[in-house]
Symmetry: C2
Subunit: 497 residues, 2 copies
C-alpha cells in the first residue's frame, strides 16, 4: 500500500494512526508544523492532538509557516494546547486568545523565523509535523501545496512526523525548489537571479531515521476565502493600472513591469485581477501566496512565470488547476518562505510589492496588524519583507470601513508596522498617492487630496493645518493624534456624526 507515496520500504513500519502520532508530542515541546496561507498544513495530527488534549491537557509552542486551514488553530486553541504561537495566524478563536493574553503570539517577518531558529536565537523545534505528497527512495520529503518553513523545521527538528495526504496529488512533485542558505560565517549569495531561477532540490533532504511516524490522511486544503472584486477594489486596481501605465510612459517600467508580489486577501487578489485588462504582458510574480488571480493571469496569457511559497485557491479554481496541473507546472515554483521573502532576492529583482494596510496616516506610516493600536488581527506576515526592499512598496486599502464609521486614513496610526521610510505608494478607491521623494508635509497634502474619503477630508485638513501651525518636521497635535481611535473605542465611530 502507498508504495508510490512511501518509496523507502523501511519506513513502512512507521505508519501509524494520527492519535498514535499525536501521542509522540509531549507537554512543553516546541512543534514546527507545515502550512502557509491555509495550504499544505498537517491536518490529521494537529486534529488528533486537540482531541487528546481534551482528555489530558498539554501545552506546546507551535510554529508554522503562516496560517493554517481546516480550523486547526481554532481546535488547538479551544483544547488549550497553545501556549505560544508564531509567526502568523488568521483564526478568530486564536485571535481572541492572543488578545486576551492567553496565548503568547510572536508576530514576525515571515522570512525571519527560520533564520532565528538556525541561529538558535529562539527555542529549538523538538518535533516537526509535515504534510507531504510522498517520501522518496532516499527518505526525503516531497511537500504538498506549500513549502513555508517546512524544510527548515524538518531539517532542524530532532523528530519528524510525516502526514502523507492522499488528497494532494502526486503531480505536485517537482513543483518545489528547496534551498537552505549556507551557515554563517561562510554564507554564499542566494543564487536566485530571476523569478524562475531554480536553485535547490525537489525534496527536503533529511535523515530518514528522524522520521518517527507516518500518518496517512485524506483531507483537502481549505478553499480560499477571498471575495470577488467589488466596485471599490476594482477602483483600486484601476488606479494602480493607470499608475503603472504612467511609469511605463516615463520609462521607469516596461510593459512587462517587474516581478509582482501581492499579499493574501481580497484586495490584493482584486488588484491582480485588474491586470487582466491592461496592456502589460509577459509579467512574472515573485510572491508568497499564489491565488486565483495568478492562474487567471496565466490563462489570459498575461503571466509567464509565478514563484511563491504556497497555492491557496477557491474551490472552483482548485478543481480547474488541479485537473490540469501539468499544464501550469513548468511556469510555477514553490520555495521556502525564507527565499520567497528574502530581502536579498527582493532587492536584487526589484519587486513591485502590493500589500494591504489596515490603516495609514497623513505621513505614510502603515498599520497592518493592530485594531486601535492594541488588538491583533493576523500579523505582519511578509509585508515588511517585501516593502522594505521593493522597487515599489505599494499599500492598498478601502478608504473607509464599517459603513463609514472608520476612516482608513487617520492623523496618526495607532500602531506602526511600516514606517514612512518604507512606503512609496498608497492607494484607496479614491485615488493614488505617490510619496516618492516627498517630505512629510508634502506627503500629507498628496494623501489627503488623493486617498481620503470625502467624509473625512475636512477633518484631516483641519488637523493637518493646525499641526503645521504648531510646527515640526512631522507636524502633530499629540492631544488629538489618537483621538479618532479613542472615539472609535468609546463610541464606535471615529468622528461624531
Amino acid at each position: 500500500m502507498y508504495r508510490d507515496r512511501i518509496r523507502l520500504p523501511s519506513l513502512m513500519s512507521k505508519v501509524m494512526s494520527a492519535a498514535d502520532a499525536a501521542a509522540l508530542i509531549e507537554d512543553g515541546m516546541t512543534v514546527g508544523m507545515s502550512g502557509f496561507t491555509r495550504a499544505g498544513e498537517a491536518k490529521a495530527v494537529p486534529h488528533a492532538l486537540a482531541e487528546r488534549a481534551k482528555l489530558t491537557p498539554l501545552k506546546i509552542s507551535l510554529m508554522t509557516g503562516a496560517s493554517l486551514g481546516n480550523d486547526l488553530d481554532k481546535q488547538l486553541t479551544e483544547s488549550g494546547v497553545l501556549s505560544r504561537r508564531m509567526p502568523f495566524q488568521v483564526d478568530s478563536t486564536l485571535r481572541r486568545a492572543i488578545n486576551d493574553g492567553t496565548v503568547m503570539f510572536i508576530d514576525q517577518h515571515l522570512s525571519d523565523t527560520v533564520e532565528q531558529l538556525r541561529n538558535r536565537q529562539i527555542k529549538a523545534v523538538d518535533l516537526a509535523v509535515i504534510e507531504c505528497v510522498a517520501i522518496t527512495e532516499e527518505g526525503h520529503l516531497v511537500l504538498s501545496t506549500s513549502v513555508g518553513n517546512s524544510a527548515s523545521f524538518a531539517i532542524l527538528a530532532k523528530q519528524v512526523i510525516v502526514e502523507i495526504n492522499l488528497a494532494q496529488p502526486l503531480e505536485l512533485e517537482g513543483l518545489h525548489d528547496v534551498y537552505i542558505p549556507s551557515y554563517r560565517p561562510t554564507r554564499l549569495p542566494i543564487p536566485v537571479l530571476e523569478a524562475d531561477s531554480r536553485i535547490g532540490s525537489h525534496a527536503v533532504k533529511i535523515d530518514p531515521a528522524k522520521i518517527v511516524g507516518i500518518v496517512i490522511s485524506n483531507q483537502p486544503d481549505s478553499p480560499s476565502t477571498v471575495l470577488p472584486p467589488d466596485v471599490e477594489t476594482q477602483a483600486i486596481a484601476q488606479h494602480l493600472v493607470e499608475f503603472f501605465k504612467q511609469e511605463v510612459r516615463e520609462e521607469r517600467l516596461t510593459n512587462t513591469l517587474m516581478p509582482l508580489q501581492a499579499g493574501i486577501g481580497t484586495i490584493a487578489n482584486a488588484v491582480m485581477h485588474g491586470l487582466l485588462d491592461s496592456p502589460f504582458h509577459d509579467m512574472t510574480m515573485y510572491s508568497e501566496v499564489l491565488q486565483d488571480s495568478t492562474f487567471d493571469l496565466f490563462d489570459a496569457g498575461k503571466l509567464s512565470f509565478a514563484s511563491g511559497s504556497s497555492m491557496t485557491l477557491s474551490a472552483s479554481k482548485h478543481a480547474q488547476v488541479f485537473a490540469d496541473l501539468d499544464r501550469y507546472k513548468s511556469r510555477l515554483v514553490l520555495r521556502p518562505q525564507e527565499i520567497s521573502n528574502h530581502p536579498e532576492v527582493i532587492r536584487r529583482l526589484g519587486i513591485i510589492g502590493i500589500n494591504t494596510a489596515l490603516e495609514f496616516d497623513l505621513y505614510g506610516n502603515v498599520n497592518s496588524t493592530h485594531v486601535c493600536g492594541t488588538r491583533m488581527m493576523n500579523g505582519i506576515g511578509g509585508s515588511g519583507d517585501f516593502s522594505r526592499n521593493a522597487h515599489l512598496a505599494i499599500f492598498v486599502t478601502k478608504s473607509i470601513a464599517k459603513g463609514g464609521s472608520i476612516s482608513s486614513v487617520v492623523p496618526m496610526v495607532s500602531h506602526v508596522d511600516h514606517t514612512e521610510h518604507d512606503v512609496d505608494i498608497l492607494v484607496t478607491e479614491q485615488g493614488l498617492a505617490d510619496l516618492r521623494g516627498l517630505a512629510p508635509r508634502e506627503r500629507a497634502r498628496v494623501i489627503i487630496d488623493n486617498c481620503v474619503h470625502p467624509d473625512y477630508q475636512e477633518a484631516l485638513n483641519t488637523y493637518f493645518d493646525a499641526a503645521c501651525e504648531k510646527g515640526g518636521h512631522t507636524p502633530h497635535l499629540l492631544r488629538e493624534a489618537l483621538s479618532w481611535h479613542i472615539n472609535m473605542e468609546e463610541t464606535g465611530r471615529m468622528l461624531p456624526i
Copy 2:
C-alpha cells in the same frame, strides 16, 4: 602644479576658483555632494555657493551621503540655498529650518538614496560636487575620507565639479572599494562574502569630459564631536560585553563575535571602547562610520579588519592615524554607503548592529529621530538598514535625559523608526533586555525590569497593568499612551515631580 593630484593633463585647464565653480550651479538644480558623517564633504564650493546666494538668491535640492562638517549645512541654510535636503543631516540651524517647514527634508535609509536615483524614482542629480585626493590618468576620481554616495552621484550626474583637497593625504588612495550594483533586471549578487572582501575599483570611473570644474582646496575635515565614555555609557558597554559573553557560553557566538556595526555618536563609540576590556579578539567591523574606537581596537590588537563608508575621528586620533596611515591601510576599506549598508550583505554576514535610540517603548518599538513625535533630530541614517537584517539588532540609550525630566522608556513611542519586529536587544545603563522570541506582554515585563530608570518604573508598571486589564495583544490605554510626551511639551517634564 598638482601633477600628482591631477594626473590627466587635459584636465588642468578645468582648474578654477571656488566662486567660479559655484557659479556653475543654477537655481533649481539638484546637486549631489560628497560627505558622510562629516567626513570628505566638498568644502570650498558649497561655502562659495552660500556666499554667492547672499548676493543673488538661488535654491537647490541638496543630496549628500550623510552629514556635512565645517558648518556647511548651517551656511547653506542661512543663505537660503536649500529648498530640499536628503538623506541625513546633523546641523542645528538646518534642523530648525526643517522643523519650521522652510526646508523639505527627506529622511531615508542610507542604502536607499542611490537605488532610487538609479531607478529615476527621485529627481535626477544635475551636478555633483565631489571631494577627491586625486584624479587619475584616466580621469577617474580618487575619493578622500568618505565614499558615501559620491560614486553614484558622479556617475549619474551630467556635470561634475571636483574639489582636490590638499589637506587630505594622497595616502588615502587605495583605501576605497567602489562597486556599483548592476542594473535590473540583470542584477547580480553583490559579491561581498566577508567584511574584508574587495569587489570594486580604487577610483570612481567616469567620463572625464563630464568634469566641468576643478577646485583646489586645503581644509581639513571637522573633528569628531564624540564625547569620551562616562559612567552611564560605560555601564551600557559593560552590559553588552556580559551579554556577548553569555552568547558565547551558549554557543551562539564565538569569541571573534560577528562583524560589528556601530552607529555614529558618543554612546556607540563608548560601547565599542568597552570591547577593549573583553575576552573577544580577531573581531571585524562592517559598519558605516569608523570612529576613534575602531583605531583603539586596532591598536589593542582586538580588531583584524574594519569596513566602513567614512572615517570620522577626533583631532588627536586623526593626527595619530594619519601620521601612520600605511600601517592601518591593509586592514581598512571604505565602500559606497549602498554597499556598507546593503540589506543583502548585512543579512549574509550576520552583522551585530548597535545603534542609538532616542526613546523606546514598553513593547520594543524604537524612535530614532523625532522629539515628541514631531521635531526631527538628525534622521534615521543607517539604523534601519542594519537593524532589519542584523544577526542581532541592538539599540542603546541612557534611561533618562535632561536631568531626569525625560524617560527614554515610554508607554508608547511618539514616532516609530524601528518596529518591534526589528529589535532584538535594548540596553540602558540600568541593564539589558533580551526580547528575542518574546510576545509583547513578555517584552514589556523584561524592559521594565531591566532598562527603566527607578524613578519611572512604578509609573510604567501602573500603565502596563492597567493596559493589560483592558486587553489586547499589545495592551495600551490610548488616552494615556502619549501623555508623557504631552506633559513634556506642556511642562518640560514627562511626569509631575
